[in-house]
């Protein structure tokens, strides 16, 4: 069956899901380029390639977010990978949060926009020769275009919200600098629901920005459509195979085989991409596939204020401080939903109920570090992936310093009490000096509760097939026609939120791909 045979699909125009193909034995289709994954990288690539006149098919394992709900459980169940319960194992468990939905993780992210820091680019140029592929000036041109298309601007006054305002106060009072976060949102209503999917679709996540633009330019998108392997013909990647599966009910639909006349672009994320390449038998020559996983692990500190904070109103993440960026740490206000915040509170039983009852008075700010740790992504025992990731001692020392700075900021902003969330410190402290023992605690990641939401490096780019998985155009060294354009190819982590950098690289490499002659 080809897409031409699909009669009056029930899905949004240009999109085809399991219910549209359920009766078929095999779904077949073909295009110039097949893009796997519809997140920051995949949607951007589809947007650029289709605008360049190429026929594009996008495959996405997740469903379409049609009516966002406020509760986290429903969001987890329908739109997050493994219901948000995926975790890396090391000495501590580190939840790895990822979206699995049309639009990828951008649908539930904080919409924070940063450009690739120049010192990071310089490091990539010096050690990984990226300057032979693109200059920083070229990146800036793309960042400008992305800013315009994704309506990037600072959180406006009307929806700044008290959680963000208090953080600004705390940052300024400890003598640091900070700024309103640049966000990809148009007309934010300040519902602090970015993690559930924006209820008013103001956030310019890929499902409301680049995916519709790619569809308008003629792209087709298959969702609930899981790529399992890439097939090659005469050593050139030419088809993607897999199956339609409902990610929630796990109901299996037909198998598919999609043919690519020109290229296959893998944008399945730094956790899923290595597994897909490995299952396809490619990218393994350097032995770096799935290795070098890097991240920005982060943890949060809760402050209790006398006056209401009302974290449930305001831009979910509206204020940040990069003052200590050179020390590999960055601070952000985090307007957490009740369910997330509740799990972060120290109490149990009646004490928890009292804490929840004063939810209005809580502020939460986080620190994320540019960790040195490198992990691995492997095939898991139960199918799927297994991730190993363990912070180094130096990383834990940075976390300790970051948490102690957050505690200072909280008190400086007027917090009555702070709940540091570190094993070995009191659950509640009422002055900054009570946090002094933090410095002397052992460098043990198990004392913190970190999450990792920014993931990089598992199919690194570079010049040599011996020290990288893909070349400087994103093409897998041993698989002509097969490209990777997501953050797997980043040689290192960034120290800033990565969506914009991921989109920028995907944009540039897709432009190059569009310019290449057809094989």
């Amino acid at each position: 069956m080809s897409v031409a045979d699909l009669d009056a699909p029930a899905s949004p125009a240009g999109m085809f899901g399991l219910r549209d193909v359920a009766e078929r034995a095999l779904v077949e289709d073909s295009a110039d380029v097949i893009v796997i994954g519809s997140g920051a990288a995949g949607a951007t690539s589809a947007r650029v390639l289709s605008a360049a006149g190429l026929e594009v098919i996008v495959l996405e394992e997740g469903s379409v977010l049609s009516a966002p709900r406020s509760d986290m459980y429903t969001s987890f169940k329908h739109h997050w990978r493994d219901m948000g319960l995926q975790a890396a194992e090391g000495r501590a468990f580190t939840p790895l949060l990822q979206g699995r939905v049309v639009g990828g993780t951008t649908v539930m992210n904080g919409a924070i926009i940063h450009r690739l820091p120049e010192p990071i680019y310089d490091g990539w140029a010096a050690e990984h020769a990226v300057n032979r592929s693109f200059s920083y000036a070229e990146l800036e041109r793309v960042f400008d275009a992305l800013d315009r298309e994704l309506m990037v601007g600072p959180a406006p006054d009307a929806v700044f919200g008290e959680n963000n305002r208090l953080m600004q106060l705390g940052v300024e009072r400890i003598g640091a600098t900070g700024n309103r976060i640049q966000r990809s949102v148009s007309g934010c209503r300040g519902s602090a629901h970015c993690n559930q999917g924006c209820p008013t679709r103001r956030k310019q996540s890929m499902d409301v920005s680049f995916i519709p633009r790619a569809l308008e330019a003629g792209a087709r998108l298959y969702y609930q459509c899981r790529a399992e392997r890439v097939r090659a013909k005469r050593s050139r990647a030419e088809a993607v195979e897999g199956r339609f599966v409902d990610p929630v009910t796990r109901a299996r639909g037909p198998r598919f085989r999609f043919h690519a006349r020109r290229a296959i672009v893998v944008c399945a994320s730094a956790i899923q991409t290595p597994g897909l390449l490995a299952a396809s038998g490619v990218g393994r020559r350097s032995r770096l596939l799935g290795e070098r996983l890097q991240a920005h692990p982060g943890t949060g500190v809760v402050g209790v204020f006398d006056a209401p904070v009302k974290m449930s109103f305001g831009a979910t993440q509206g204020y940040e401080s990069k003052h200590f960026w050179h020390e590999r740490m960055k601070f952000e206000a985090v307007g957490m939903p009740l369910e997330f915040a509740a799990a972060r509170l120290p109490g149990i039983g009646p004490a928890l109920m009292q804490e929840l009852a004063s939810f209005d008075h809580l502020a939460i700010w986080g620190v994320q570090i540019r960790a040195e740790a490198q992990g691995q992504v492997r095939r898991g025992l139960f199918g799927g992936t297994s991730v190993h990731y363990d912070l180094t001692d130096a990383d834990v020392e940075r976390l300790k310093l970051g948490v102690s700075r957050l505690i200072q900021m909280m008190f400086a902003a007027g917090a009555r009490e702070v709940l540091p969330g570190v094993h070995g410190l009191p659950e509640r402290i009422s002055s900054p000096d009570q946090a002094a023992p933090l410095a002397a605690l052992p460098s043990d990641p198990r004392r913190f509760h970190c999450i990792a939401a920014h993931l990089f490096g598992t199919a690194k780019l570079g010049l040599s097939p011996h020290s990288s998985v893909v070349d400087l155009q994103g093409q897998v060294h041993d698989s002509p026609g097969l490209y990777v354009m997501d953050s797997s190819i980043f040689p290192t982590n960034l120290g800033v939120n990565p969506q914009h950098s991921i989109s920028a690289l995907a944009w540039l490499l897709s432009e190059r791909l569009a310019e290449r002659k057809a094989p």
Binding site: Q224, I348, A357
Partner: protein
Amino acid sequence: MGLLPFEKRWLVSVITCLIPSGASERLPEGAADLPLERFIDDLLAHAPLKFLLGLRACLWVVSLAPCVVLGRLRLFHQLGDEEQLQLLTRFKDSDAYLVREMPLLFKMVGCLAYGGHPRIQARLALEPRDETPPDWARTASQRAPETPGGDS
């Protein structure tokens, strides 16, 4: 992977101990005032196997712990409220990482149900909130059937 009916009862007793009813004037309802068993069924039907194996292992440890921790020949759900809380507090404060993570795991599960219910969110004046409860909290007649391939 499901839980056996008695394991579900164990899980309900752990969560209702962590999120009790009548402990706060502003939040008089606890987890027991919500259809928690339906939430658990929904979670068991959809969560990844690895998570469910971990949850089950932790459940057995907590259920059998009164004997070791409190010297009481009882299962967790057979203890009184005070003793249940005492036991979970010992877990929470433990220096052993895996032990202190156990109550946190149950709390996370319980709070996903509790904190996401519009009735609880209304008590805390959280806006915007859903007009209808999540699927698991609706009565059978209110619930839409789970059709494969549906949007969400």
